[in-house]
């Protein structure tokens, strides 16, 4: 497959550019739009609003929580592409129309630009976050 490698390279370029000049050039932003389509602008908006939090537990488990525009908190996994938002379930899983949802893209962009908030929780709290998602889906 080609697209993931392209997406990854694009995000790396953004990270490099940001590290060097604290600025993301226009052509990379347009590249985001080209590859990720309608996700791009909402994802950047989430980054602008510092909506992404990286949650860590002492054992090293990590996950991301993104505060969506509706005020709802979505959980994104770090070991694979997964988000608890309905758009992910529809566009990515069901239709295979997108690589990611805006929340996962926001996670990557926040990583690239150092815009993640950090939160340390206990093992139990992390498990509870994951289990809470399970209950909602049930």
């Amino acid at each position: 497959s080609t697209l993931p490698a392209v997406a990854e390279e694009l995000l790396r370029e953004i990270r490099k550019a940001f590290q060097e000049s604290s600025h993301v050039p226009d052509d990379l932003l347009l590249g985001l739009k080209f590859i990720f389509g309608p996700c791009a602008v909402p994802a950047l908006d989430l980054v602008d609003q510092r909506s992404v939090t990286r949650v860590r537990s002492p054992s090293g488990r990590t996950l991301y929580q993104v505060l969506g525009s509706s005020g709802k908190l979505y959980t994104c996994y770090s070991s694979c592409h997964f988000c608890t938002c309905p758009a992910f379930g529809f566009s990515v899983l069901q239709k295979s129309e997108s690589l990611l949802c805006k929340h996962i893209l926001a996670v990557y962009l926040s990583q690239a630009m150092g815009a993640c908030q950090e939160l340390s929780v206990s093992e139990e709290q992390l498990s509870n976050i994951l289990l809470a998602e399970e209950e909602d889906e049930g």
């Binding site: 392209v6 226009d26 609003q49 090293g60 070991s79 295979s96």
Partner: protein, 656 residues
């Protein structure tokens, strides 16, 4: 959108781009001229097309010049022409309707991206693309092709393919895959997990370290060496969950008939740092094995692997577990202290008792506990400290675990009717030589309450009903003046090989067992002995009935042939010498408790008193004949003691 933010910027750029695209497209259609040979124009020939998400990926060959000048036959694929991967958005692709062999002109601004591990460059931002028609033949071909729908292969992207933004040197975002919540399918495949560099034989000696480094997902390759301090069974809370091993139907059979299938074998283990953990192993189909496991495993070292954390519990939430842990504290040998160099002068007496404990369980159906049964008992092992009952009754504390060896005299099931039989408590009346040989001050017999959560093996149950038995009570709980057997208490018929006896061997009782005599201190739910004189009979509740002398069946019938004879259905025979059972309530005057009315229900046919009374009563049917009779020492169970009216209700019992 945030003012001045990235999103706002992209919006503006995007709007500009969109208008440029529509303007350009409009211009191409209206002008209808072949575009001039600008150097920035990419000329590509499509070789292969497929789709990923909504992006169309075209493997193309870059052409040096426009093939317009050449005839179609000359436009042969040359090996030296570079290959490109050109990406088109869904909208551009719909506009182009490209097919293999088509030639596309891509106008700037397009972007070229070089991937790290790939030779083929990628072309993006291909909005300004136009298909070039070669000749009239092509036009005709185009029209026919336009009618047939072309199927384009669609690649499904795996969710497991995540993006690594950092360079290989930069370990900032690197997370080992083992610690993450398993959602990628490869993690479940056992063969894949062998990628882990740690060999299976790596053995650790710290439970805490393993728990904290491996997380809740489980310890796949590492083992922890621990000492088994105790082996016991716990009733499973979720009694309806089926287990791979047990195929027994979970029907409501009374506990006396079959072993409950929902009992787990558990170990209380301790590591070299003194930390405890409770390990819940498999479900047992037969609780008879518990005695075997205790004998073979307690005190031995073992290696745990493939465990997962069920719970991290604390003192306040698991009183029972911590009372057992406290009985094993402080450790009998010095323990390691984390972070300090290990020298022999480590003091373990100053360490506070543990405040938390991890409860572990087996990860999959297999058990990963390797007990070295041949090995010697570990130095860290603390066998149960056995005391005489006299000493135990004098313990000051509450919720103390105690172990003792005692003779069970009488067993009584709790009579609460709204509680199912297998969940009712049992009262065992026990004694030992330390209680029997005392003259004053302490009771001769003690009641031990066995709750439903204390798992009894079938062997023990049968032994308790059959006859007077010596039973070893391991880790019973003493508190509030009572001994109770709860979760983690184990009743064994054989004395364990290794235990610390505080005094001489307590097992043998010399002489017949004596009960305390009924007096003013006698309480309900106890046993006692009494003597007195019959002062009255409760005629309304007296009755007798014949029973079969062979099988004890109390429901005999009249023989159809001869209505003078009795017939037993269970034996299918005539009963010639029936045994008469009788129930009678007598009122006694007991000198040891002269102020109370003593009412005794007698119904065993064995005692002399009853026989005599019965004979007299039945023959004469006169209460007069029993009044004034002396009643010898009767063993009784006290049902109730009331003060207003001052009455004691008892029932004659037979000791085991």
């Amino acid at each position: 959108l945030c003012r001045g933010g990235l999103a706002e910027r992209l919006c503006r750029l995007q709007n500009r781009e969109r208008s440029a695209i529509s303007f350009w497209r409009h211009q191409c259609i209206s002008d209808d001229k072949t575009p001039s040979d600008k150097s920035d124009v990419l000329i590509v020939k499509i070789l292969e097309i497929f789709e990923e998400c909504t992006i169309q990926v075209a493997i193309c060959q870059q052409l040096e010049q426009s093939p317009v000048a050449l005839s179609p036959e000359d436009a042969v694929i040359s090996a030296e022409e570079p290959i490109l991967k050109v990406l088109f958005t869904r909208e551009t692709a719909a506009h182009l309707k490209s097919r293999p062999q088509d030639v596309i002109h891509i106008y700037p601004p397009w972007q070229k991206l070089l991937l790290q591990n790939a030779d083929v460059p990628v072309i993006m931002n291909t909005y300004f693309s136009q298909k070039v028609l070669l000749s009239e033949h092509s036009e005709a071909r185009e029209k026919t092709h336009g009618l047939t729908k072309m199927l384009i292969k669609k690649n499904i992207i795996s969710l497991a393919q995540t993006f690594r933004l950092d360079d290989l040197d930069d370990k900032l975002h690197q997370e080992p895959s083992d610690n993450q919540v398993a959602c990628a399918p490869q993690i479940h495949n056992n063969s894949d997990s062998k990628q882990h560099p740690l060999a299976l034989s790596a053995v650790n000696d710290s439970l805490l370290e393993m728990v904290e480094s491996q997380g809740a997902v489980g310890w796949r390759e590492v083992q922890v060496r621990v000492v088994i301090q105790r082996v016991y069974c716990l009733p499973a809370r979720e009694g309806c969950r089926s287990h791979t091993q047990g195929n027994k139907p979970l029907c409501a059979t009374p506990v006396t008939n079959s072993d409950p299938p929902n009992v787990r074998l558990c170990l209380l283990v301790q590591d070299a740092y003194g930390m405890f953990s409770e390990v819940q192993l498999q479900f047992l189909s037969s609780t008879d094995d518990i005695e075997q496991y205790c004998g073979r495993w307690e005190g031995k070292s073992c290696c745990l692997a493939g465990m997962k954390i069920l719970q991290r519990t604390t003192r306040g939430r698991a009183l029972g577990l911590f009372s057992l842990i406290d009985s094993l504290w402080p450790p009998v040998v010095p323990v390691k202290v984390p972070g300090q160099s290990q020298d022999s002068e480590m003091m373990s007496t100053n360490l506070p008792p543990p405040s938390f404990c991890y409860i572990l369980t087996v990860q999959s159906g297999e058990i990963h506990v390797e007990v070295d049964e041949e090995e010697q008992i570990s130095n860290l092992y603390q066998p149960p400290a056995v005391h005489g009952l006299k000493e135990i009754l004098r313990i000051n504390g509450c919720n103390e675990r105690c172990s003792f060896w005692a003779q069970v005299l009488y067993q009584r099931l709790q009579t609460k009717h709204n509680v199912p039989i297998d969940q009712r408590d049992t009262l065992l009346f026990v004694t030992d030589s330390t209680l029997q040989n005392v003259v004053h001050g302490i009771p001769k017999v003690v009641a031990v309450s066995v709750t439903a959560s204390c798992v009894l093996s079938m062997e023990v149950r049968e032994a308790l009903s059959a006859g007077s038995r010596l039973v070893f009570f391991k880790d019973a709980l003493w508190g509030n003046g009572r001994i109770i057997c709860v979760e983690r208490t184990v009743l064994l018929l054989q004395k364990p090989l290794l235990c610390w006896a505080a005094a001489a061997d307590l097992s043998e009782l010399t002489g017949p067992v004596r009960l305390d005599e009924l007096d003013s201190t006698t309480q309900a739910n106890s046993v006692c002995a009494l003597r007195g004189t019959v002062v009255g009979v409760n005629e309304s509740t007296a009755f007798s009935w014949p029973t079969c002398d062979r099988c004890g069946n109390g429901k005999l019938e009249l023989c159809p042939q001869d209505r003078e004879l009795l017939y037993c259905n269970q034996c299918s025979e005539v009963v010639t010498t029936p045994v008469l059972k009788m129930q009678l309530e007598v009122f006694l005057s007991c000198p040891s408790r002269s102020q109370s009315t003593v009412k005794v229900k007698v119904w065993h046919e064995i005692t002399l008193f009853v026989l005599l009374t019965m004979l007299l009563f039945l023959q004469t049917y006169e209460v007069q004949s029993v009044l004034g009779k002396e009643v010898g020492l009767l063993n009784c169970y006290v049902h109730s003691v009331t003060s207003h009216p001052n009455c004691v209700a008892l029932e004659e019992i037979v000791l085991l």
